[in-house]
């Protein structure tokens, strides 16, 4: 099964990797031990296209220590075309253009040498 470290290594290279249950077809990201739909433990890799739409968003104005120099910044919940959702930083989209339903595309963000999930314009 894909470890968290492997997921973020792939994500850093631009590839979003989900897993699909080979018994019931349920899709999951990130991977988990048991399929929450059928309890099977038979996952297959399932690359995602990276395309999704915003289901909710916010602009953070008061940040945790370590992020204070970055405010304001936007975070969105994004429903991916394949059916799973991911939370990510939104970049290169003006705050006043953010809306529920807006089409976005995955892009890896690197911060302090760590990859995080980001989304930019489609």
């Amino acid at each position: 099964m894909l470890t968290q470290k492997e997921f973020f290594e792939k994500a850093g290279a631009g590839e979003l990797q989900a897993v699909r249950c080979s018994r019931c077809g349920a899709l999951a990201i990130p991977p988990r031990a048991f399929c929450p739909e059928c309890s099977e433990r038979a996952w297959q890799p399932a690359p995602l296209s990276g395309d999704g739409t915003i289901t909710s968003y916010t602009v953070i104005r008061v940040a945790p220590r370590g992020f204070a120099g970055e405010v304001p910044y936007a975070i969105a919940a994004v429903h991916m075309k394949e059916g799973v959702s991911l939370l990510g930083r939104v970049v290169d989209i003006p705050f006043d253009k953010l809306k529920v339903g807006l089409a976005v595309r995955f892009r890896p963000l690197t911060r302090n040498g760590q990859t995080a999930v980001g989304f930019g314009p489609r």
Binding site: F8, T58, R61, I75, S85
Partner: protein, 385 residues
């Protein structure tokens, strides 16, 4: 399960204190034991909530520390950590210890100290309740989580920022009636709407404050309760539920499924429904959180919680008064103490002892406590004979 009652309650003043969380807990616990009319030696176990002590006070092992500071070094203790729901989780397990017959008198409570660190630091520590690798790396904050809930609720149901502001105005008004509350002043809708943006669409007055404080309750078996100094308030139900940890796994951000599950389990345990509840203390860490909770608890239909707040249905004197204490919003939110403080308020209400904020004739009360990113919820029901 044997019947279990709450026979004593104690809460410190909420706000800024120059005392450790263990000292704050000891004050609340001593008050709770005095209220119960029991000597400290009657306590057979301590169930304790504390969340960010390892960060703000560089302190782990907080439950035996709290017991030592209280002067009860020998009782078995356990610390519970389910973010903001910690002392309510402690309460549920304590009820099981007494209900199962293991103990007859158990002390439950919690404390937190956060105002000794900066807002940036406490914002970071509270964010630890979200996933370290997937979400903290984004700079997600606790207000940010509920901002996502708010935006989803506004989009799905048309909930407005003014409706959210109505929750803040109502809880501040209730807070003026509670001498233990952190805030003792009324605010207006306009003040809320014009306050500084924290995480759009949530503004400063949509958010509960950082708070130092402690709370404690004494629970007992029926036999002990019937001989106690005060009228026993019976625990009719205590239920917990969870939900996915990651925001990405929560499929409908306008709902909190853990609230719906915990409420269903609590109503089933008690053989009651939302229509039987007279007073509610629920987890209004943000104004939208109160709106979503009133829906998830079945007090109002999905999507109508904002309307209910705006029309005053949740105010003292309304259809179903919510957070007569002032709630987390005005009373304050010392996270490890909050669940126990909510229970203390409902017990006070059911004793008909709440003075100017008394809900007339209350016979059944409910407490609801939510942990962090909505992954933990506890719901308990209480009644008077």
């Amino acid at each position: 399960m044997r019947r279990v009652a709450v026979i004593g309650v104690g809460v410190t003043k909420f706000g800024r204190h120059d005392r450790t969380s263990a000292e704050l807990f000891a004050e609340a616990a001593a008050d709770a034991l005095a209220d119960a009319g029991l000597p400290a030696t009657a306590v057979q176990a301590l169930y304790y909530g504390n969340v960010v002590g390892s960060e703000t006070e560089k302190q782990l092992h907080t439950s035996p520390q709290a017991a030592s500071v209280l002067g009860l070094p020998a009782v078995p203790t356990t610390r519970f950590e389910t973010a903001c729901a910690s002392s309510h989780a402690a309460f549920r397990h304590a009820v099981m210890e007494v209900g199962s017959g293991v103990s007859d008198v158990v002390l439950v409570g919690g404390a937190e100290r956060v105002l000794n660190v900066t807002t940036e630091e406490s914002t970071e520590y509270f964010a630890y309740a979200s996933d370290a690798r997937w979400e903290q790396t984004l700079g997600l904050t606790f207000p940010g989580v509920f901002a996502l809930v708010a935006r989803a609720h506004m989009t799905k149901h048309g909930t407005t920022e003014a409706q959210m502001a109505a929750v803040a105005v109502k809880n501040h008004k209730h807070g003026t009636l509670n001498p233990k509350a952190q805030f003792q002043k009324e605010i207006t809708i306009e003040q809320v709407l014009k306050s500084a943006m924290v995480a759009d669409p949530l503004k400063l007055y949509d958010c509960c404050p950082f708070t130092d404080g402690g709370a404690a309750v004494v629970i007992a078996s029926e036999e002990v309760a019937k001989a106690a100094a005060r009228r026993p308030i019976w625990v009719l139900a205590s239920a917990a539920a969870s939900d996915w940890m990651l925001i990405g796994d929560k499929r409908d951000l306008s709902r909190v499924p853990a609230t719906e599950r915990a409420a269903a389990a609590a109503y089933r345990q008690a053989g009651l429904g939302p229509q039987d509840v007279n007073v509610v203390e629920l987890h209004d860490c943000f104004t939208i959180a109160e709106i979503v909770a009133t829906e998830g608890l079945g007090l109002f239909e999905a999507g109508t919680g904002g309307v209910a707040a705006e029309k005053g249905w949740t105010s003292l004197g309304g259809k179903i008064p919510v957070n007569p204490s002032g709630g987390l919003k005005a009373k304050g939110h010392p996270i490890g103490a909050t669940g126990a403080a909510q229970i203390a308020e409902v017990v006070t209400q059911l004793r008909h002892d709440a003075g100017p904020r008394q809900v007339d004739g209350a016979r059944v009360g409910l407490t609801h406590t939510l942990g962090g990113n909505t992954a933990t919820v506890l719901v308990s029901l209480f009644g008077r004979d």
